[in-house]
């Protein structure tokens, strides 16, 4: 379980997050949604320790963010940041291989190599395993990073807007892979999403943020409503239901 209590955050003089307390149970996909500037990415990067936590407390299982070693946390929590630009010229297989680093610290064994191959196969990366990262499409690159996180073999996975710049096939493919990881491997996935329809289709739980405060939490068909769109997103788009699932009519 990821537990946040009394988390506040300031950037410059502006308060980005206001006293957030939230429990995210183990298992399933939780989508963090909200308008631009709501604090979604900030919240995620605090849990991922990409931004130092100054006020409040965050724990992942028994590990306290800021109070545990980076190595221990890397075996429990994998992250995929918003910018996946790598300046080093790496092949796909090398990148996925780095996922094992928290476990072998630079000396991979046969078990590590087997896990890397398994991750490549599962994410359909075997045909392009020896290509360089700058020679493949954006969708393939995102998939390679998710495969790396998968190879890291952690219970928790955090992703910050992984669907940015992906076409519909790439975005759906990636979300299906995440869904599959949640269902088959009991991963707990926390994901920042922009598109409410993707959240409605793939997430088990939704946490909506507005102005640094939690506006709503719950299952997609309970949370996503006309009122949510009006109050949180400041738009008058309508919701319609198809096969019992809410859709935003854009």
């Amino acid at each position: 379980m990821i537990r946040l209590s009394g988390v506040s955050h300031f950037i410059g003089g502006a308060q980005i997050l206001h006293d957030i307390s939230l429990d995210l149970p183990k298992g399933g996909i939780t989508a963090l949604i909200g308008p631009n500037g709501a604090g979604k990415s900030t919240l995620l990067s605090l849990i991922a320790r990409l931004t130092p936590l100054k006020q409040g407390e965050i724990t992942v299982d028994t590990l306290k963010i800021g109070g545990c070693s980076d190595r221990d946390l890397a075996r429990v929590l994998a992250i995929m940041a918003q910018s996946t630009h790598v300046s080093a010229r790496l092949r796909v297989r090398e990148l996925v291989g780095f996922g094992r680093y928290p476990w072998h610290r630079g000396r991979p064994g046969p078990a590590d190599h087997a896990l890397i191959e398994a991750a490549l196969e599962r994410f359909g990366l075997l045909p392009i395993a020896d290509r360089f990262l700058d020679e493949i499409s954006g969708g393939q690159r995102q998939r390679a990073f998710v495969a790396m996180a998968f190879a890291q073999d952690t219970d928790y996975l955090l992703l910050d807007e992984p669907l940015n710049n992906l076409d519909i096939a790439g975005a759906r493919g990636l979300m299906r892979l995440l869904r599959d990881m949640a269902d088959r491997d009991d991963k707990t996935i926390l994901i920042v999403l922009h598109d409410i329809n993707y959240a409605a289709a793939f997430a088990d739980r939704i946490v909506a943020l507005k102005n640094g405060r939690i506006a709503a939490t719950g299952a997609p068909d309970q949370v996503i409503s006309d009122t949510l769109l009006r109050d949180v997103f400041d738009t008058d788009a309508k919701i319609s239901r198809i096969d019992g699932r809410p859709f935003v009519m854009v």
């Binding site: 890397a74 940041a81 790598v86 080093a88 630079g106 700058d134």
Partner: protein, 318 residues
């Protein structure tokens, strides 16, 4: 990759043998210690600067930067100029070499640490800001040096000039030992960081996710860079003639071509070997074949400048 490293090692051995053996006239008893000292200093400097450059390029994620942008060379020349200015040419010449060496190493390491410490406190530990600050500081130091050089006696100015370029011709064995004492542990530590450097090269966010704190890794690498550059510069003088040093740039660019790998366990030895081959080979050609007294660095600057432009034009990725 391993094959290419062995090939590089063989090439270096040949270069060393030619350097020691070519044009040997007179008693080996005198010749050998003299040439061996010069050779050892070249190897030490070649390895030290190459490794420092690889570390620097990894933590800045930039292939066209070398540690000399941090103003180390400029500080060295300034200390030199100030000493000559205050003590006079004779006074400077009579200073104990070991004292001078210690002063230079300490000064340059402190400068590097100070720069980094200030930035860690003030800014958000932004590595690019550190580099830019170092660049500006280098310009400041150079301006002060130039100002002082305008005021000193022409004969003393000549003296400053002659030691402002790296020279392998007059290396004291005691200094060599001192320099090795500083450089070798730093090299061992850099080698120990090889796997962590691979991860740091993935970018701050990804490195954090893999359990490698980028701040502490960058800080450790920076300490090693300061020590390595300081020890090399204090031993033979600055490798650059005033601008940025192109030696490290040539070495890393070649190493990336010879052994195309991002793994530091390959890149570090490959760069170190390449650096040594360039220094020893170049010095042999300059000294023995062309019979020139021009410092090797002048030639390296020329070739490096051209290579720098080629790299800039050819670079596909931003």
């Amino acid at each position: 990759m391993a094959k290419r490293l062995i090939l590089l090692s063989a090439l270096l051995l040949v270069a060393c043998a030619i350097y020691i053996g070519l044009g040997a006239e007179g008693a080996w008893r005198f010749l050998l210690p003299y040439r061996a000292t010069k050779l050892a200093s070249m190897l030490l400097v070649g390895i030290g600067l190459s490794v420092a450059t690889v570390l620097f390029q990894t933590i800045t994620a930039n292939r066209i930067l070398t540690p000399s942008v941090m103003g180390f060379d400029a500080l060295y020349v300034m200390v030199l100029t100030v000493l000559v200015h205050v003590l006079g040419g004779v006074g400077y010449a009579s200073l104990p070499a070991a004292l001078l060496f210690a002063m230079n190493v300490a000064g340059m390491t402190v400068l590097g640490m100070l720069l980094f410490g200030l930035l860690q406190k003030g800014a958000r530990g932004d590595i690019m800001r550190l580099v830019l600050t170092g660049l500006i500081l280098g310009i400041l130091l150079r301006s002060v040096t130039e100002f002082l050089q305008r005021m000193i006696d022409p004969a003393e100015f000549q003296m400053v000039q002659s030691v402002s370029f790296a020279r392998f011709t007059q290396v004291e064995p005691s200094l060599l030992a001192l320099s090795a004492l500083v450089t070798l542990p730093a090299l061992a530590l850099a080698w120990g960081m090889r796997n962590r450097l691979d991860v740091l090269g993935l970018g701050d966010a990804t490195a954090t996710g893999l359990g490698e704190n980028p701040k502490s890794g960058q800080a450790q690498a920076l300490v090693l860079i300061c020590i390595l550059v300081a020890a090399s510069t204090a031993l033979v003088g600055p490798m650059s003639g005033g601008g940025g040093s192109f030696f490290g740039l040539i070495v890393t660019a070649l190493a990336h071509v010879i052994t195309p790998s991002e793994r530091h366990r390959i890149l570090l030895p490959s760069a170190a070997l390449t650096g040594c081959i360039i220094l020893v080979g170049g010095q042999t050609v300059m000294e023995r074949l062309l019979d020139l007294t021009t410092p090797l660095t002048v030639v390296i600057e020329l070739i490096g400048g051209i290579l720098f432009l080629v790299l800039l034009v050819k670079r596909k990725r931003a």
